[in-house]
Structure formats: C-alpha cells, structure tokens
Symmetry: C2
Subunit: 228 residues, 2 copies
C-alpha cells in the first residue's frame, strides 16, 4: 500500500478526507498541527478520529502561530458570532489565519519527503470555503508546482500530488460522503470557540456551516451545541 | 519606511541579506525559526546580529521539525565532515531538511501579512547553494506566485515580493558585500555541528564553504574553528 500524508485537523472535512484517502487505497500517515489555535480541542478530536479509522501512524508538530498573529483563531481578536449567511459569503473573515494552509502543506511536504510518500491529502473545499484564499483549487495547483521545485524528490524528477478531494463538494455532499464511508462524525469538532470542555458554541461561522450541512444532508448532527 | 520580513538564521548569508534589506531602505522585522536544529547556537547568533544592526522587531517562532525528520540537521543522521569540494558539488547532501525553505517562507508570508509588509528577504544563494533545491531562483519565483494565491492581500490584488538578493553571488561576493555594509561577521555562526559552547567544527560543509569564502574574499575570517 502506498503511503500518503493526510492533514487531519479534527474537523469534519479532514475526517472525510482521511476516509477518502483510505478508500482510494492509501496507507495514511496523519499530520496534526498544534499551531496555538484557540480551538485546541480539535487536536484531541483528530487523535480520536485517527484511532477510530485504524491509522497506524500519527505525527504531531507544534508551531507557535500566536507569535505571528493576525487572526481571531490565534490572537485576541474575538471570533464573530451569529453572522447571517449573506454576511458570511462576503469577503475573508477575521478567522482567516495568514498563510495557514501554505504552512500546513509545507509541513506535510517535508513529512511526505521524509517518509517516502508522494501523495498529500488536504480537506479544503471551495464551495463552502468561508472565503479563505488558501482553500481554492488554484492555490492547491500552485503548491503542487512549488513542491516539484522545493524538494530533493522533485529534483530527481518525481512529483508530489496534492489531493483535495472535497474541493468541489458542498458541506452536505461532504457529510453524505463521509457517512457512506463510515466516518464517525461524533468524534469531530468544528467549533472555532469551544467552551473549556470542548463543547461547540453553535454560533461561530464554523458551527453555523456545520449545522446547516447536516440539515441539508438530512443526517442527524451528533454535535451537542451550547445553544440548541 | 516600508517594513520587510527578513528571515535571519544567524549565518553569514542571512546577516548579509539583512544588511542589504536595510541598505534598500526597508524597516526589517526579523523572523527567527527554532526548528529543532542541532546547531541551535545560530539562534543566539541571529539575536546578536539583529541587535548589532539596530533591528527594532524580532519574532521567534518554534516548529518542531524533529517530529518530521529526514535530515542530518534535525535527526540522528551524522553531519558529514571533511568532504572534498568535488564531492560537495555532487547531489543533495544529508543536511538537506525536507521542505525547510518552503516552511520558512510560509512563516514569513504569514508574518508579512500580519504586520502589513509586502516584502520578504531570504538569504539563499544559488552559486554556493550546497545542492539544496529550495535555494534555487525558480523555487523563489514559484513561491512568489503561490503567495499571491495564498493570502488575503493577494486576493485583494497585492503582490508579495520575495527578495533573494544573494542569489547570483558567490560566498566571497557575499562576504565582500557584507563587509562593505558593516556586517559584523564575528557574530555569525555557520557550523552545522558546533560543540556545546557553539564553537565551529571547521569540518562540516558549511564550515568548509565559509572558510573558503573568506579566503577567496581576502578578508580575515573571525571564526574560531576547533580545527585550525
């Protein structure tokens, strides 16, 4: 079985992405990144997801993005709540973390090269992408081109393939796909601003998109929200 | 004065690069990365260099690349010693750290966006580049293209400029340039495998290239090597 590095955040997108990587016949090496996110509860969720899917290798790398700042997810800017859909569709929210996916893919690329993998999975999606620039297909393609130039393997003529299998899917499609693959969504955490026990606020963009996705998919949402 | 993020390692290349950024009229924000390198003495050197050049803002970010592995600089692979020049010119050495410059530039990009800078300086050079793929001009250009797609600023039509002003220079040229700019090379550290007090081994590729560079430049090398 070919190895693939799978970026796993603990949210529902990356859990589905892991399910798809396995369904495509890859042996996943999961990469978890502790970047000083305020919703660090997602890391425990990521470990639980990896365990539930029988992943044999999990690597956790920490990088202190609080030193970089510039985001509601790593700094003192409050996480916006109760934003209506029209507002969410407009522009890039303050939860954008500058260059986060560039950093995640750089770490994944280093790990892939170190473990001899040539495939990397990232659970970005373009439809419900919350306005993050580094979730777009053109960003993924540009990183793939960079990877060929950045690495020893690339110099030796090998390519890295960055898989973004959720790219064209809506949140409801993603949930339906994961449900079919047996992903246990009760283990996943999406909330940007959980309470100290890791409970979902039910009001941040991420909670709102998650709830709506389960509703649209017609699948019961296993999340317990602070505001039902 | 326009701000620029300058990647500063503590070696002579990045110190010279900092000198050039200042000479070009930028207000430098220095980014130091503690990546678990065995030659961590370079971080103290980087702080000293920044101080000696009157830099007002220094950010230190740690990222644990020992968890990624695959390099003599972060793992258990021994650092090669006493390699003759013909051997050093051949292929990519084991001191290559998978995707290191991709990671460094990702961090610099995030910081640049967070502090409102659009310019990033990195002290890579292509002539004496030790065979590292991510020191080549084509890599730098590809990252610049990625940066435009990866960021909020890019979406808003702004470009990031990745400056690699040492790109076409030999080590001797770099040293001459820095000497002219008043860079204090006695503060810099190049050794990959220093003794516990930070003393240079004099035998790794980096020490050999440094020594040769000072000789070729006709400038006295202020380094005290373990093997004279």
């Amino acid at each position: 079985m070919k190895r693939a590095v799978v970026l796993l955040s603990g949210g529902l997108d990356s859990a589905t992405c892991l399910g798809l990587a396995r369904a495509s016949g890859f042996d996943p090496v999961c990469l978890l990144v502790d970047y000083g996110q305020r919703h660090r509860a997602e890391l425990a969720a990521a470990r639980a997801v990896a365990r539930s899917m029988g992943v044999s290798e999990v690597r956790e790398v920490s990088v202190d993005l609080q030193k970089v700042g510039g985001s509601a997810l790593t700094g003192d800017i409050p996480v916006p709540k109760d934003r209506p859909e029209v507002e969410r569709a407009r522009g890039i929210p303050v939860t954008y973390v500058p260059a986060r996916n560039t950093l995640f893919l750089a770490l994944a690329l280093g790990l892939a090269e170190a473990v001899g993998a040539r495939d990397i999975f990232i659970g970005v999606n373009a439809v419900d992408y919350s306005g993050y620039p580094d979730c777009r297909p053109e960003f993924i393609r540009a990183f793939e081109q960079l990877a060929a130039l950045a690495t020893r393997a690339g110099v030796q003529g090998e390519m890295f393939h960055i898989h973004a299998p959720l790219s064209g899917l809506s949140k409801a499609d993603i949930i339906r796909t994961g449900a079919r693959l047996g992903v246990d969504y009760s283990l996943t955490r999406s909330c940007y601003d959980p309470d100290p026990e890791g409970g979902a606020c039910g009001r941040c963009d991420s909670c709102l998109i998650r709830r709506q996705g389960f509703e649209a998919a017609g699948i019961p949402d296993p999340t317990r929200y602070a505001r039902p």
